[in-house]
């Protein structure tokens, strides 16, 4: 039982981080139709900026986190301006390749700036643990779950209760019609890239205390977040969150009970199964052609 609880909580916490990254994917995809593959390196950059702010600037930890989130929101806007806006009207492949280019630039900047040796970011709770049903759970994992829950709720409100959210959803529904309604498409894509940048930084500072920080920190979360987006059908916040949690859980429970050697593979087996059986995603609705 302890083992199950421990694996379960770790799985949910991992899934929560994937969910935060995947929500960034979702936002940008809805507003622009593009998948931003720089998202993973933004996670890494967020963690490094937090480390820099906490050690070099000696800011308190929460201050360092805030600096990272704000800086990454700005980086998100820069990516939109330089890697997306100039080629917005080109084919989707060109745009996606351009985000990959941005990812490589960010990665190179990190290596030039902080080197390649692994480093650490403290968590606000250190290595404290709490006992739940006999299992020793790191408090950081509970923090990750809590922060993600708040984040998801805030985004849901933003999507469904504000003019900004309606505009994003209208763009996802029909770009041309949305433009005809006077929605400022360029402004919306800047805002969503910025917001997604901030979300990446949040994922970065949440996950960094649980492992060594290297330039590859964000790669895994991005891959799983992408799988989660596909599981969720790339449509709704609920779908993406369910997909991300499923991936975190499959990874941890599969690694714990089946074989840890294949822990990285289980999520993708799940993804392939879903694609084969339910191509529209777990919560996605069937795609209907417009009459």
């Amino acid at each position: 039982m302890e083992r199950f609880v421990s694996l379960f909580v770790t799985g949910v916490a991992q899934g929560a981080v994937f969910a935060v990254v995947a929500l960034g994917f979702l936002l940008i995809h809805k507003a622009t139709g593009v998948i931003n593959f720089a998202q993973g390196d933004l996670v890494t950059l967020g963690a490094y900026i937090a480390i820099w702010a906490a050690t070099d600037l000696e800011l308190p930890l929460l201050g360092a986190y805030a600096v990272a989130v704000a800086a990454l929101a700005a980086v998100g806007v820069l990516i939109e301006r330089f890697a997306y806006a100039p080629i917005r009207d080109r084919s989707i492949h060109v745009v996606v390749i351009s985000t990959l280019g941005a990812a490589l630039v960010i990665r190179a900047v990190i290596v030039l700036w902080r080197g390649t040796s692994p480093t650490r970011l403290r968590g606000p709770l250190g290595f404290e643990v709490v006992e739940v049903l006999g299992a020793r759970i790191p408090k950081q994992n509970l923090l990750i779950i809590g922060v993600t829950a708040v984040c998801v709720a805030a985004l849901w409100l933003l999507f469904h209760r504000t003019q900004f959210g309606r505009q994003v959803r209208a763009l996802a529904s029909d770009r041309m019609a949305a433009q005809m309604q006077g929605i400022r498409v360029a402004r919306m894509s800047m805002l969503t890239f910025g917001l997604a940048g901030g979300l990446s930084a949040l994922a970065g500072v949440l996950i960094a205390p649980t492992r060594a920080v290297t330039v590859d920190l964000g790669f895994g979360p991005m891959l799983y977040a992408f799988a989660a987006s596909i599981l969720g059908g790339m449509g709704s916040i609920g779908g993406v969150v369910v997909g991300a949690l499923a991936i975190g859980l499959v990874q941890q429970l599969g690694g714990g009970y089946l074989s840890p050697d294949y822990a990285e593979v289980y999520p993708f087996v799940l993804m392939l199964l879903v694609i084969a059986l339910r191509p529209q995603g777990v919560l996605g609705s069937e795609v209907r052609a417009r009459l």
Partner: protein
């Protein structure tokens, strides 16, 4: 002038779909545009709403607006409904209408949180206006349903509510009665007929000439990309060139 389009020209290769059309619609004026198929009516509407590239100049509510910029044209006060309704199917009816509200202020996450009291106030006012617009077209009780669940005729009405909530200076309606039955067409005529009194100018293209006659106090006839007649309906129908270009078909259609 509420709408002033001058020298509008659209060429598709060698074809002059719209060949230098001037059209002005005054405040509270309702203008019908008619003409045989292929005469350039829809292309003209596409040009003044920014959907196709065009030459010429455009003024909406006294302000010059660049052609080819649908968003800017909409924000300047020119609203449009389409031949086949373009609603956001995944959004609820009221969300469809809210999107087009004249208060376009939208903030990101941080702004929404910092200015949340002002935001909620704006939201409440937007909802009141959107509900009133839905009520006008008889869809108030469907407000919370996804637009995709509405019937074809109801989608048209929703599109009309969305066009009108922003208090546009002018409504451009492209074949608004297409696909509507007689009852729905009568309701549409009532809604369009009310517009001038509410200070909204109207430019309507429709094949149902009775509808055009009912709502418009001026008719513009197009043929081969040019305006061939412009005046009060009764007078326009009598002109020889109009009879030749158009009314022969009208008689045939009625037979």
């Amino acid at each position: 002038m509420t709408l002033r389009a001058a020298g509008i020209a659209v060429h598709f290769g060698a074809l002059r779909a719209v060949d230098g059309v001037d059209l002005a619609v005054g405040p509270g004026e309702a203008v019908g545009m008619v003409g045989p198929n292929g005469s350039g009516k829809s292309t003209f509407l596409n040009a003044v709403t920014g959907v196709v590239a065009a030459r010429g100049s455009l003024e909406v509510a006294g302000r010059r607006v660049p052609l080819g910029r649908p968003g800017a044209i909409r924000r300047a006060g020119l609203a449009r409904t389409f031949q086949s309704p373009q609603t956001f199917r995944e959004l609820t009816c009221i969300e469809n209408v809210l999107l087009a509200d004249r208060d376009r202020h939208a903030t990101g996450l941080a702004g929404a949180w910092l200015g949340r009291r002002a935001m909620w106030r704006r939201e409440r006012r937007r909802w009141a206006r959107a509900l009133a617009a839905l009520d006008r077209v008889g869809l108030a009780d469907r407000a919370e349903e996804p637009a995709g669940l509405l019937s074809y005729g109801q989608q048209r009405m929703l599109e009309l509510a969305r066009a009108l909530v922003g208090e546009p200076a002018v409504l451009v309606a492209d074949e608004p009665s297409a696909g509507l039955d007689d009852t729905e067409t009568a309701e549409l005529a009532r809604l369009l007929g009310d517009l001038p009194a509410r200070g909204v100018s109207l430019l309507v293209v429709d094949h149902k000439l009775d509808l055009v006659e009912q709502v418009a106090d001026r008719v513009v006839v197009m043929q081969l990309g040019r305006v061939i007649a412009d005046g009060p309906p009764a007078e326009v129908w009598r002109r020889d060139e109009v009879v030749e270009a158009y009314l022969g078909r009208r008689g045939a259609a009625r037979g």
